[in-house]
Subunit: 413 residues, 2 copies
């Protein structure tokens, strides 16, 4: 596997994409969506081989489910590509436009980033999603999926490449790394001069490996230990519904709530009410001493429960003396992803919204809304938990950079 | 040297800064400017020790000049701090404000990045400039200057820290790493969880070491191999003035021109005219065969001259057959910093502005304008040559991140 060669091909494709019209990129996306449906049988056949190999090698049922494709899932991928196509063009937006004191006319314009590398694990739909988001935003993409999905990914990428070429754009706009060894991922992380940004999508181990080892610019994604703070002036019915939704509607995702913090004045009323709702989904509550005193069903929490990302039907719970203690806990144990206060008190609400440092801070709403679709950005390539470049859902606009165009009449300095 | 301890102090200071008022930060900047003047004698005395040590260890005259402080230079640093103070507040700007389909009210607000680390070399003014830009933008800063300037930097940082404290903000908003060993820089580059972004300011070796070794997010700065392309429809008098300014007004900086590309149709007229101007500053011209055929004074260029950052009174020169050849040369050898076309032809101008990928692309103006001050951004902490987060001059706005505030009425998903 010659990743430098792939990097050069990606750069050449990126040059063409950077000056392509929105119409040409949209036509390529239309062709991509159709190609997935046209090649459905090959993709399903290759996926069956991946699933058989995965079963043999003892993948967990959850992993096998993430890996599995069906006609409906392929149709969903095609729909997703068309939805990305129908987003507004993120390129050539005029971000600023002003005359400098020198008389130069300055325009700040959105442009593609260039070459985006995506390192991910077993989900083959990431191949189609990432390719579509990059194509829409004029970027070439180098995809490095996990070995469990290599046959499925190859079939998908082949279909997409042919579709891009059929629409008159370079097939190397989409490339898949066929070598799924650790070495290929490591090499991609250090492909400076070819890769403009690397986005890891996957579990903590993957993210950590990328952050530790990459020399190319990285956007960290995905770690989410989100809290719901129930203030002493909360509407307790609303608070219970928000907590139930944030915890139990889809516990495996990064915007799910992992810990509830309850003001001491309302703990006795709120906790039994919330526990009753949560018991519908058999959520295990791990509480501090004050929670356990109110809730006989709660399991005593240990120090390891604070800040823990369960991604499961488990909830840490703590009684706090004040909003300050709640914010201090969030500062110490949160991952700056999504944090929520439930309160009817304006002053408490504004303090929390201003003082809590996270990509998304909620008043009286579930943390589950941190999502490109919900934010009106269309699909997302991940949720950034770093503060550089972009924070929160990464949609097509977040996959752009900018440049300054300056028009003069002979000005010198 | 316990950098983790410094990281924790910086984070605590950053928390206070993030919720401080613009007035409080401006008052701290006023105090900083005054403190430099009040402590002028100590700073000059420490600088004299640095200069003596530098002379003993054989620093070059250019290095000694960059290291040297005078009353006028300290006054300049104080003026710089006040100019940063007088910029508009970059925080709490409403970047977006809309109602989502769920009914949530979304606000996207500018916030500080958090903790910024700056690694730099021998110039003590970087200490004051960086501290001022970070303070204005609500960030805590960890400064790691070169060993040549450690006494000067310590005196400056001590004055600034006391000034910040006197204005009621935490002195740890500004910290200087007293250990100037390679190990301290290496440790800072891997201080994940404490440092939100690291900005290297200095020569190529420093930038490369940071890019290779850092695991914290980095903004690359400073590499500039800028070109001026003189089109066949250029105003040749204007082109010569622009080239002369871009090359010779200050050759040591990154926005200086290193290479001129001349269309073959105008080479015979343009090159002697430009050479005459450039000879005023004894600029050495290293030309390809076609340049040397026209200009007897030119030295034959070798392959190493293309893409070279001389930072000196030397200019590479090449005759090209077309605008396409010029853009191809820039693609291959440029550093995506600043590139210029001189032409009266609108079509050529628009092609160059659209197709050349650089932080700043100029029509009929000197590349020397790529500068925070000239762009109306105030001072800059560096010029980014990467495409993530910010490109071109990094002013106080570029030292901010953002967060989403979402206000609901009990929405769940």
């Amino acid at each position: 596997m010659n990743l430098i060669d792939m990097g050069m091909r990606a750069q050449n494709a990126a040059r063409v994409l950077a000056v392509s019209s929105a119409e040409a990129r949209n036509a390529a996306l239309t062709a991509c969506a159709r190609a997935l449906l046209d090649h459905q049988n090959e993709i399903l056949a290759q996926n069956a081989l991946d699933l058989a190999a995965g079963t043999d090698s003892g993948l967990s049922p959850a992993m096998l489910d993430r890996l599995a494709l069906t006609e409906a899932r392929i149709a969903g991928m095609a729909d997703g590509i068309r939805a990305v196509r129908d987003l507004p063009d993120p390129l050539n937006r005029v971000l600023e436009n002003r005359v400098l004191s020198s008389g130069l006319l300055l325009e700040k314009i959105s442009v593609p980033i260039g070459v985006i590398a995506v390192v991910y694990e077993a989900r083959p739909n990431v191949t189609a999603d990432s390719a579509a988001l990059c194509l829409k935003s004029g970027n070439a993409v180098i995809l490095r999926g996990g070995k469990e999905a290599i046959r499925s990914n190859t079939a998908i990428a082949d279909a997409l490449r042919a579709a891009v070429a059929s629409a008159g754009l370079p097939e190397d706009a989409v490339q898949l790394v066929s070598d799924t060894s650790r070495e290929s991922a490591a090499q991609l992380m250090r492909l400076n001069g070819y890769v403009d940004v690397l986005i890891p999508r996957g579990g903590k181990g993957l993210i950590r490996a990328v952050v530790e080892n990459a020399s190319v610019p990285v956007i960290e994604t995905g770690a989410g230990t989100c809290h719901v703070y129930v203030d002493k002036e909360a509407d307790l019915g609303m608070a219970a519904e928000i907590l139930f939704n944030a915890k139990a509607s889809r516990p495996s995702v990064c915007n799910a709530c992992e810990c509830v913090l309850v003001h001491k004045d309302v703990a006795e009323q709120f906790l039994p009410r919330a526990a009753k709702l949560l018991s519908q989904k058999n959520v295990e509550i791990r509480g501090d001493a004050r929670v356990c005193a109110v809730l006989p069903c709660a399991v005593p929490a240990t120090d390891e429960d604070w800040g823990k990302e369960y991604n499961d039907y488990i909830l840490a719970a703590k009684v706090v003396d004040s909003i300050d203690e709640a914010m201090e806990h969030i500062y110490r144990y949160g991952t700056k992803h999504s944090e929520c206060i439930v309160t009817e008190n304006d002053e408490a609400a504004e303090r929390f919204l201003n003082e809590v440092d996270a990509a998304a801070v909620y008043l009286n709403a579930s943390t589950r809304f941190t999502d490109g679709g919900e934010f009106g950005m269309g699909a997302e390539i991940g949720i950034s938990t770093q503060k550089l470049h972009a924070r929160g859902p990464l949609g097509v606009r977040e996959l752009t950079s900018m440049k300054y165009k300056l028009r003069g009449k002979g000005q010198v300095r």
